[in-house]
Symmetry: D4
Subunit: 203 residues, 8 copies
């Protein structure tokens, strides 16, 4: 067995989208708002398109953190939503952990707000238990570039792989012939430049 880090495998992966809540979005300053909302929804649409088990979570959604982003819920209406009453690290919430472990998956694809806490803590916890973790950097946001970069280094040095949502989709697809139209529709909707290339062809 090679020690080289592996790719995401569709049959082994679960997606965790943590604390994408309306209040917390206002804390995110390492992305522009249009770009960030799009990235979050794109990851959700990717999870849906490939039929990956997906777990949503919120933290104290009655308070200032706000409610789960409604547009995210619309894409994934059937995903379980774990409403944490207080645990900052989702891994500390028994319901969350049970739900995750019930999937039986060993590869975790994770994104959330904020990168340095809601993503970093479960990432480190999962790595400690032997999971492979793929942190989706562009669907995770935080206060500043320095907070982001430091969290990235911390997680990567602990063994996580840093990845963007587009690469997640491509690793799951592996071959365009595994459903050309679906992938094209996903990219057309969430990558304006790709959409323009596709529209240009339809002429």
């Amino acid at each position: 067995m090679s020690a080289t880090p592996g790719f995401i495998r569709k049959e082994d992966a679960v997606v965790l989208m943590l604390d994408h809540q309306t209040g917390l979005f206002s804390l995110v300053r390492d992305f522009q708002p249009d770009e960030f909302r799009n990235n979050v929804l794109a990851l959700a649409a990717t999870a849906k398109y490939f039929g990956l088990p997906t777990i949503l979570a919120t933290s104290m959604d009655q308070g200032p953190n706000g409610v789960l982003l409604p547009q995210l819920r619309e894409i994934l209406p059937d995903a379980p939503v774990i409403k944490r009453p207080g645990e900052i690290n989702a891994w500390d919430n028994p319901e969350f952990l049970t739900t995750l472990k019930a999937t039986g998956k060993k590869q975790i694809i994770v994104a959330g707000i904020v990168t340095d806490v809601c993503v970093a803590m479960p990432t480190l916890s999962a790595l400690a238990e032997g999971y492979e973790v793929f942190v989706v950097v562009d669907a995770s946001g935080t206060f500043s570039n320095v907070a982001r970069d430091s969290a990235h280094i911390r997680m990567a040095n602990a063994g996580a792989q840093l990845i963007n949502w587009f690469a997640v989709a491509c690793e799951l697809q592996r071959d365009w012939r595994n459903g050309l139209e679906g992938l094209a529709a996903l990219f057309e909707k969430h990558i304006p430049d790709y959409g323009n290339l596709i529209s240009g062809l339809k002429r």
Copy 2:
């Protein structure tokens, strides 16, 4: 009569959206793609919401410039589309000019790709004929910030007012009580931060 530049008046204004074509979008480097597509569609949705006469135009849409952005067309399916066979300045196209003048409006709200040509040329032409011109800076794109800033100075010094799509919407609305829900829906869709504030209230 005051010499102070006036606001946009709903009854006097026409919207020109020039050359928002799939090929030309790939030339735009003064905005990120997500942000720019959103701004363009937001201006179209504003024009539609306020029922302003709107004229779309393309330049040589059989060639590399590409076709009219389909998502823009979906918002404004009934707006006239002037397909210019070669004139770079829309003002030089008789059909365009006739269509514009038939609206009888004297305030022009204009956006397009690229700012320094497809927007600047008709802006200067319109100002020379006595129109008031409002250039929508964030729904217009070009190659670089230096090209943009120079075109802004050129147009502003010639008498144009520089404005962003949000301000266009607000000047047309004047009072939130002139249709609260419509404006809120417009902002919810096209301003993620505003959408999050509104979603938070619905809790």
Copy 3:
């Protein structure tokens, strides 16, 4: 009389702080949050220190725009707060206009959120009626740099003077000997680098 733009004169000036509301702050992307909140509070503290009449205003503060920034209210507990039920341009609100005109001042120092609407509209209205207008650029915020810069050009070309809060304070003070300690305290609190210089001297 010289046509050169004049300075702010303490006896002629009124301060307008428009729509610095908790929800609207989340729309501001042309400043970092720490810097912007500090600038807003610094302008309020400047107005208080010099005893300038100051008018606060909010727009639909029961909705997503949120409530008046509490820290701002703490600095200026006695200033009138005009709660506009819908008018986007404060100038369109009779109570606001009456309150403003009752001050008898002809120099307006104005800041607000967002620059391109809540600041730009009353600025243009005031200029049209012959007021001198000083736009406090660093206590006003908006969606993007391009929106800000365009609003600045529009207002400046209409006759407004662009200024930052520090320059407002300095023009009002004119001479350090007009109350050295008060001004130093203002700067020590709101300009970290200045505060460090002052602390260094106390050693």
Copy 4:
């Protein structure tokens, strides 16, 4: 025992704030002044809120480096302040080392000015002696981004974990129910966007 890097544990941690002196603040160019002062004070307030032993230090505070930031001292009036007569690496100062070792803690949370010297040197010394070190990147400042990034890489490659003050607070808190109001007050004061969310709820 897992090799995965662990979290900060309240019972095992000591905070070191090194050389946050009024003169040295003027050397910091990798943060804006408002943001940086706020971050430093936020880390101090975090240490205080969680009751962590905290050691302050200065370097030659009679000279150009200036005095300990007074606002920092106000938050932590009882923390020991080690005034180093010349040692650049605090670890070389016997009083500092004795004070640190007397706490019996094995996790060090460290910040200071400048990152590449006053933070990096004791970090490397502590790692060499088997401490776990958490470098608080946003309460540490230096001359430039390239100096910062290089120091980060150097420390991370030596085994330090890079973290921001917000994540420090969250790892110490672990669960919002461990004192909801205290944490909320901390965030309300030091994170303007969070403060606005909380203020909005009070309406």
Copy 5:
């Protein structure tokens, strides 16, 4: 006659390319080297394509300023090159002025290194004598953005129009049907994104 600034007219325009010398290129820091060299050559190619009279100039080309950019000379092998023995403002050189006036043109299209001197001085001199001046901002370079922006404001306030090379080409062409292939070839060579659109069509 309208006071609105006019467009460039092919029959009335002369191009001045001032001091694009190999040494002076190393002073240019407001553009990346690839982008800037391309812009300069693109302006030369535009002048050639439209057959505009073009005057090149150098300043002390035996010294540190270096020789005329060879690639520029290759595009315009027959243009006169005025080698100024010392005059900083080309307008002060009799041979230059004579050559310019002999063209009989009243519209000057000018670019050079550095923007704030070699472009600004002849621009102000030409405006003072009643010429229309179009400053090609992206084929002119200087030490910093602040030097550039200030020179732009100075020249624009004196009456110059700021423009980029692409807009120069488009105003000269006016209609794509005035030689579609030539213009397309010009853009394909000097605008990579445009080139890619054109190549895509050839498939």
Copy 6:
């Protein structure tokens, strides 16, 4: 044998240029277009100059991804072009793998669009099979800086060496005396500043 990462050795290296297609270029936002096209062509010219075996590849070149950049093809007219009918990871394409393995080389120099997929996937695959991989960072492009940086960290942590095209050329050359004029010509063409230095000498 030292564990230190080695240099590129001319006799052991093969160059892979993956998916430099006209459509995909419009997705690249981490470089300006002029700079990026130049870097890509410079890498190709380097491969050619040193006579390295080079394999080009495209992905679905009948669709929106577009055709192989014609200027790249002109430099390397004889290199094999593997047209992948669907495989996203070139390593999954048997023809590609056969062609690569037929070279017998164990050092791979790779660049492509986009960095996080078309470069990262074959890089990880090659590392897993024991190849030394050199990722040419400035001839590879993607959507954003955060996507790029994350892919770099992922690949570097897996064992790849990050390098730029200039360093590739220098490691292949080792000594200027191994063909001074050829290397100088390469740099003169693709590094404007170097070209200006060389031109200056010819005076």
Copy 7:
């Protein structure tokens, strides 16, 4: 007489360097420290080289503003230094005004810290009295880019000309033959790139 703004004329100009004090330098955030100190000294050296009358000034130099920059004083040991006891606008200080008027010059070249106050106030005062004012933008510094840009617009709209120190030197020199070695030495010292070009020639 032409209305076009004129150049600086050596026989008509006086240089004002206002409040370049050691404390105030730490407030400057729109330039990097190395670059800004160099620009300030370069302007002083320019004034000295051309023998222009130069007036230095300080504001409360016993307090936090600090003393006059020693390196500046070394260049201009004989220039008068007006130590203002409190007036923020140097124009309000009788000694300053008398000294200035005694020069009999009508063109003012001014720089200082901070741009928006110590430069802007005397600039507006001088313009009101009919002086021509040249604001040296790169030898003047302030808190932020937005403060700088706004002050630039305010001053330029009032009639000031924005210029950088290099352009000041060039307008004073007019012709390289008016003392080639002196100008070259000035540039060699204060423009590293120019210095390198000159050093290269000496080989």
Copy 8:
């Protein structure tokens, strides 16, 4: 012996300054010119102040690379200068290697132009032979940030420590009492902000 990376030790270190040549400086785009020249000279002055053996080198200094920076030579007039006739990697030059090995030092402090070649190659060579290598990141320059960052990662992953010149000086000094005035003079000259703090004290 601890595996933690050690500090620079004065008795064990040699300084290599590679290819700081007048031509090559014009290639450096990851620093502003003032800042970079200052950093290079500061490192030289540091080497001199601590009396470290220092080796200078040039590459083909009769050609476009230019001559050794004269100001650097002035600081270190007695250091050996190895003029490489062609070897790109200084390690490949026998005279260089002999000179280096004759020092008997095992810690190498290295800087040069360009980072990714002239610094990276000898760094990797030295690491392979068991040297400790400290790469001075701010006295080394290259074409772009992406080239720099990649070279940093490559060298750091191979075992080099990244450091800035200020940290080099501090690690060599260890304690301010080891010659307070000399270090202060070094910082006063090369760190403007530090200089201002020191000047302020002299008042």
